[in-house]
Amino acid sequence: MTLTQLPPTQATKPIGWNGKSVKEMLLESERLFAETGHYNGMIDLPLRDNYPILYEKIFSHLRGGLVNARSTALNISASPIVREIGELSFALYTPEGDSIALSTGIIVHVHTISDAIKYMIRNNWEKNPGIKPGNVYCNNNSMIGDVHTADVHTIIPIFWEGELIGWAGGVTHEIDVGGVSPGSMCYGHADRYGDGLLVSCELVGENDEFHESYLLRCRESVRAEMYWVLDEKTRLTGCQLIRDQVYRTIEEVGIDNYKQFIRESIEEGRRSFIGTVKQMTFPGEYEAPSFMDVPWKEDSTVHPMAQKDILMHSPLKISIDKVGHMGISFEGANQWDFHSFNCAPSPMQGAMWVLLTQTLFNSDKVNDGAYFATNVHLPYGSWCNPDFHKVSTTLTWLFLIPGFTGMIRSLGRAYFARGFLEEISAGYACTFNLLQGGGINHFGQPSAFTNFELSSQGTGALYYKDGEASCAAMWNPEGDMGEMETWEYLEPMLYMGRSIKPNSGGHGKYRGGMGMESLRMLYKTKHQILFSAGEGHVFGTAGIFGGYPGNSGYRHAMHGTNMTEIIAEQKPYPLVDGDPEDSQMSSLVQANQDVFDLHQLSGPHHFGEHDLYASIQRGGPGLGDPLERDPASVESDLNAGYLLPRFAETVYGVIAKQEENGRWRVDTAATEEHRQAKRQERLTKAMDAQDFIAQQRERVLHRDFIQPVYEMYQSSMALSESWKKKFYTFWNLPEDFTF
């Protein structure tokens, strides 16, 4: 057989500047940075210095265009995650893929899109499949540049007179990804082959339109197809609005000024970040490890390879050096595994970035300059840099969120040292419970959903006040819990109630913001698969200066209930679960099965009509010794139902009595006296730290730990000689001791 030889395609002109390919531009940019320490070798910033008004005007044009693109485009979406919660964002990039400016929203993705663009450049997309005006690319591959499959990028190139002058990128979070189980972040499978629809920097459209074949593939691959397809159009529209704004800006200021601006703005961002580090922090080293449990040894709903108990180890360490560079290291992190919580380097960069923009680098002129002023060390083979390319990453956030809780706390210590007390936060709460699932919905249709009220957790205590209740997510500074009615329209589950969870805010002189809980009843559906996710056996965060962590989570589900009888006979029914030691659910409802345990992270479970599902969110960590809390604040918490009465004395040393009208009243004099006694009692009960170390050394020598703790130590030491040395040195272990 003879193959027909196609005529050679006409050689195309390079699309980069001055006759270069865009890959040559990227390599040159990296070389200049390595040689000079300045972005693109920009030692001088003549546009900013000589024409500051013009410089600021260009920035304002672009920033305004990005915010406008987001606000306008989200109206195309039908997904409550996008429309109500605001899980989308847009950004503008240089030809090499470095972000210049961004919109509001889930800005964790500003750098992940940068990674995706650079992947295309490095892998010669210019030649095949080509980078041309009107092309549309899509990516949701976290190993290339993304957080997880549910976050889908649309990326378009922007050309001016034949040259690539940048890229516009947008991202939305999808309701379902067509994974092995319903929901946007399904898990329980072993590897990537269960992750759902994977799109890897694919050319999915030309001439400003999607390929119909791509949209068909999306419709055929995911459960909530309407939402997916409309979100595709949302992102593409936003990108086109950005491109139009870039064109308007260039027409006004000229292409040369535009090109100069995009370089200078990133170098200015880098310098600004370093300047802020030196202005606000203290040089040195900061340690803040965190942990997350995966209690799956006996969970038959997950893949056999995933059926084991795991404790994730995130030994976060921040180093700030003489010149103001900030390094973040995870040396000592334990190994990746056959679950969906592994984390590629791109989302780790994204997480660092989104946190910095909320504390240290919180001006509107945020861009990849911060990326060039920092470095992140991610041990190869660990959960945060897997050496197996096809790990599952659908729920990367499960490790990533607790993994970074120490960062805000460590920066708080740095602000304390410098005297910027108003900037100190005890940290953030983990954004759990994650409720998602699917099945035949209340309209009789196969469907899937992800409930995003988890966007509203309690915030960490500040140095001068309590944290705020139920309002924030570390990954989206504009978190919103959404209307219950909207979620009820999407999900076949009625809200029995939604309320503040007592004792969820971490104790302290200033307590963490309160978390909330919702109680849902399955309604008009015979079959739903539901997930719950979050930390249950551990705290995912910690307090600061004597403050305690906010609440950990638990699972409470009731199957085969008598809710129809309760409703028919108009008997009292639970609105929430409340105090878990006096559960409203268990006391008011009878069920064939009352699942009530610490397995907050559980695989996909079947639920039927009138089953109950409690969704417990988190309170923020606390700051300072609880015995230093103003007794009047304790009284206020008692009367608001934020603090269960039995903890007023044990934690806060407060003597309070309930009056006839039901209100609590603190006895200030008795409280002061009692607190003095409690401080003395502490010293009596506590031991010298050196004695504790000696005592615990014996435990270490006997390897007296449960399996997940023991294996965590084994894994961290196997991957990191330096962490092993640290462990051995602290416990003064003999060299021939093996763990």
């Binding site: 003489k322 210590r413 304390f416 005297g419 007390l421 950990s552 401080r679 506590a686 730990f705 965590m712």
Partner: protein, 167 residues
């Protein structure tokens, strides 16, 4: 833009007495270049001893310079823990919540940790009994060294002044 706050305002911020909207404006405004020095003076006024404070290390803990030149971590109540580069927790009093009963003194059942997976270590000042830090770590985890400050770099390179000496 030049911003500065009087010591009374900063003292109110330290003591939690500043109106929240004022503190919020401080968050949103440009930072004041003299904050470190002013806060150092405020901290120095707040402690009952005379050793010169080099930096505030954590709530109720300071690095001070001793007459012999040693940099020591010292508490509000005068307990001297160790040198600045060491972890003060090694010299504190510690109480560990490592049974379900002890965990339930602080958290309702199921809202705390399973003590087989994670314990709470409470570090107290040996003089006052004030709780200085709470670690939430698995059993067997080395003490967390929260902050190891580089005082020389800070003074010499960032502030451009020599590290203060004892009076």
């Amino acid at each position: 833009m030049s911003v500065s706050y009087d010591k009374n305002t900063l003292r109110q911020l330290k003591d939690g007495l500043l109106p929240h909207d004022t503190a919020h404006r401080m968050q949103s405004s440009y930072k004041d270049a003299d904050r470190f020095q002013k806060m150092l003076e405020i901290w120095q006024e707040s402690v009952p001893w005379d050793d010169k404070i080099l930096m505030p290390l954590a709530e109720h803990l300071f690095v001070v310079i001793k007459p012999d030149g040693r940099r020591i971590i010292k508490s509000t109540w005068g307990y001297e823990y160790c040198e600045a580069h060491e972890n003060w927790k090694r010299y504190a009093k510690v109480f560990v919540r490592n049974t379900p009963e002890l965990m339930r003194e602080v958290y309702p059942d199921k809202l705390g940790a399973d003590v087989n997976w994670m314990e709470l270590r409470e570090f107290y000042d040996p003089i006052s009994g004030v709780l200085l830090e709470v670690e939430a770590v698995p059993p067997g985890y080395p003490f967390v060294h929260d902050i190891k400050p580089d005082i020389d770099t800070f003074y010499n390179d960032w502030l451009g002044i020599p590290v203060p000496e004892a009076d």
